[in-house]
Subunit: 249 residues, 4 copies
Amino acid sequence: MRKLVSLFFIVLCVTAFAQERPNMVPEMTEIWDPEVSVVDPGETPMDAPSDAIVLLGADKAFDNEWTNGNGGEPGWNFDNGVATVKSGTGTIKTKREFKDFQLHVEWRSPEEVVGESQGRGNSGIFLQGIYEVQVLDNYNNRTYRNGQAGSVYKQHAPLVNACKAPGVWQTYDIIYTAPRFKADGTYFTHPRVTVIHNGVLVQNNVEVRGPTEYIGIPEYSVKPHGDGPLILQDHGNPVSFRNIWIREL
Amino acid sequence: MRKLVSLFFIVLCVTAFAQERPNMVPEMTEIWDPEVSVVDPGETPMDAPSDAIVLLGADKAFDNEWTNGNGGEPGWNFDNGVATVKSGTGTIKTKREFKDFQLHVEWRSPEEVVGESQGRGNSGIFLQGIYEVQVLDNYNNRTYRNGQAGSVYKQHAPLVNACKAPGVWQTYDIIYTAPRFKADGTYFTHPRVTVIHNGVLVQNNVEVRGPTEYIGIPEYSVKPHGDGPLILQDHGNPVSFRNIWIREL
Amino acid sequence: MRKLVSLFFIVLCVTAFAQERPNMVPEMTEIWDPEVSVVDPGETPMDAPSDAIVLLGADKAFDNEWTNGNGGEPGWNFDNGVATVKSGTGTIKTKREFKDFQLHVEWRSPEEVVGESQGRGNSGIFLQGIYEVQVLDNYNNRTYRNGQAGSVYKQHAPLVNACKAPGVWQTYDIIYTAPRFKADGTYFTHPRVTVIHNGVLVQNNVEVRGPTEYIGIPEYSVKPHGDGPLILQDHGNPVSFRNIWIREL
Amino acid sequence: MRKLVSLFFIVLCVTAFAQERPNMVPEMTEIWDPEVSVVDPGETPMDAPSDAIVLLGADKAFDNEWTNGNGGEPGWNFDNGVATVKSGTGTIKTKREFKDFQLHVEWRSPEEVVGESQGRGNSGIFLQGIYEVQVLDNYNNRTYRNGQAGSVYKQHAPLVNACKAPGVWQTYDIIYTAPRFKADGTYFTHPRVTVIHNGVLVQNNVEVRGPTEYIGIPEYSVKPHGDGPLILQDHGNPVSFRNIWIREL
């Protein structure tokens, strides 16, 4: 219940110069409506809030929310809420498509260390299907800076390397703003992304220059698009994922 | 160890039209140096990473990092890492000053519910000493939307109300970019702030219009400033704080 | 005709460290398509280019492009391409509506000086019908800074006062980017405006906070809208306009 | 003289709901101080305003404001305010250095058409010495779109091709905002540039990605810098310049 107030006050403006602005009162800068919607947060910041769509969880069938790249059954291993890349089965993709969102993902690189640089614990999260936040085991594993865990792949190196050891679950909290397009098909506003890796800020609302390109310049392949799915990459390494939830903004 | 490669390849550009761009190779968009610094993340995203300054913690004396508003001893109660507003003793303020940062704060409104609207569990976190992120018990407590918990006070209502019940610890994860100024003392870039409340995004890199004003228009009181402290507000309610850490960006 | 090139070259990458990027060649960063459209510029920068819509010109009937505020005949005086406010007849408004644009306007305050502050040679150009660039005779006429000629009225004072004397024709060159909206009706991006007054920059891509308000705070009255007309204000003073052209961007 | 007002009014707020904001009055959003500085504009928008520095004009010695690339005498031809590239003598450079500015330049490609694509009437204006706005005779002369007249060379094609014929004087009006840097030497804000070519907008506050590179990717060569000179390019063609003025912002 809000307070009923009986305001009866006098604003006295001295009869001096017009440029002395009359005093305001606190209520002039209070906005009451519309009421802000209530969201029930998770117990910890890692748990899904009440308005989140749980995309990967222990109590969900894998193929409820995911397909393989061609719309068929996802080929990855799935056990008790944990999905693990099965090399050669290709990407998995959400059935739903998204525009702007907050996304929570937990991932784990294989405990047994195999390979180096981009060959170790490599996967990726493609926002709207085309903008990749890199997943990689960079724990004591050097690679090019703009291809590290937490990078916007080949566009923005992470601010720091906040990787945990192989075999340990890690978190990404991602805030994504989709691009808007001009009539001529170029960006009116670029995509923007913030990434927090294991609680550490690694991307601060950076501007994505264009679709992720392994070869070439992202600006050159910009094409207008609407909402898009999340895609998780099969890069040949048995990287695992769990507890993925998303809130549309 | 990075891979040594023996690249010896030929880029064949057909003798056709100049506008067919020659092919690039993947290595042309790989940046290796400087190496990204390693940060040891906390065990959970709420725990301080290795490069954080712990401002409030169980193993720190209160007056190591904090003073009252006048530079003297902070007047609040402090017990085992928890600082609680002691009404009438005024704000507390960090000795250190900051520019751009990532900040983690945990706060708790009093379990016993007293008052309503702005009178219930009210405190605040002033970034650089002048830009307030509101702390308020908004659990079943309506107030003006731009004065709620998670608001940039009187400037930006939170996207949602993610409050937990009185007496329960809550988290703010804040990413703050300080303003830069023109020679004439106006903003070259405004302050920007992202706030995640209990794991839920409530401010998405919003532009702060000016210093927080209880009365009046923030734009009108912009003045150039350098780094500034964190200030926690005494608004008369025994709100508690714990586990405050900050990472300079 | 473009050059045909016979590129046949070898990129030699030393067998040393992978982080030495292979050399690129100039053609890799040349984009040929689509060809840029040709526009025939005016003889001077004040003359309408070939792709401009002429809204007010000597060879156009006044009511071709303009109505009064209610869609009827415009009530102003019109003679040989010059439209002059006829006090009491109200605003005039374009029949066309616009989104993003470049706009050229010439205006003249009455040679005979009458009134002071906001009372002298006052009119205005409302972009999309709601965002006003102020027209005022500020030649030796002080008023509040955020209400001067070249101001975004009550939001942004001009960088300088570049007024010519009463009775002399003046120019505004305006670059306007319309706002985009979120699903909830708030701005996704604010309107932005650049104003060049008599060849002098007075607004540099400033962010418009909301619709122009004579009383109150612009942020509080933001409502989603599509394209909108240009509106010229009748503020009671016989201000004249001529040579208005616009290019949709 | 400003109006003296005797405001004595009562704001009556009905005793109903607190969310009805009390009415404001117009004077609450009027800002009088500091007074906006007066600038005397040129007779036409092409003429230098009173606060401009004239860098190239009929009444100035050439070497007052310009040197060659090494700080010596500029090697170009100079006659009655017109400077013309003398092939092989290299660039010319202002003695002064600038941060943010408004710049007016007039240029003319040789009347006799020689060469094609980038070989015809090629020169360039380097803002802060490193960010090039291309000068080229693109009148019936196709080249790569991101290398045309009015392009930010190899970064942003012009919105349209507004070239005049060879031998005819053309204008560039440029608004430039210098980058600001972070402590780590990367951009805090990128350079931004607006270009109006012969009165036609060709660049609308675009973000410059990095220093102009004939070969390679601009982002990769960003280095922190302070103010910088204007540089005009000797690209082997006898392009002429006149009436260059600049206003520091």
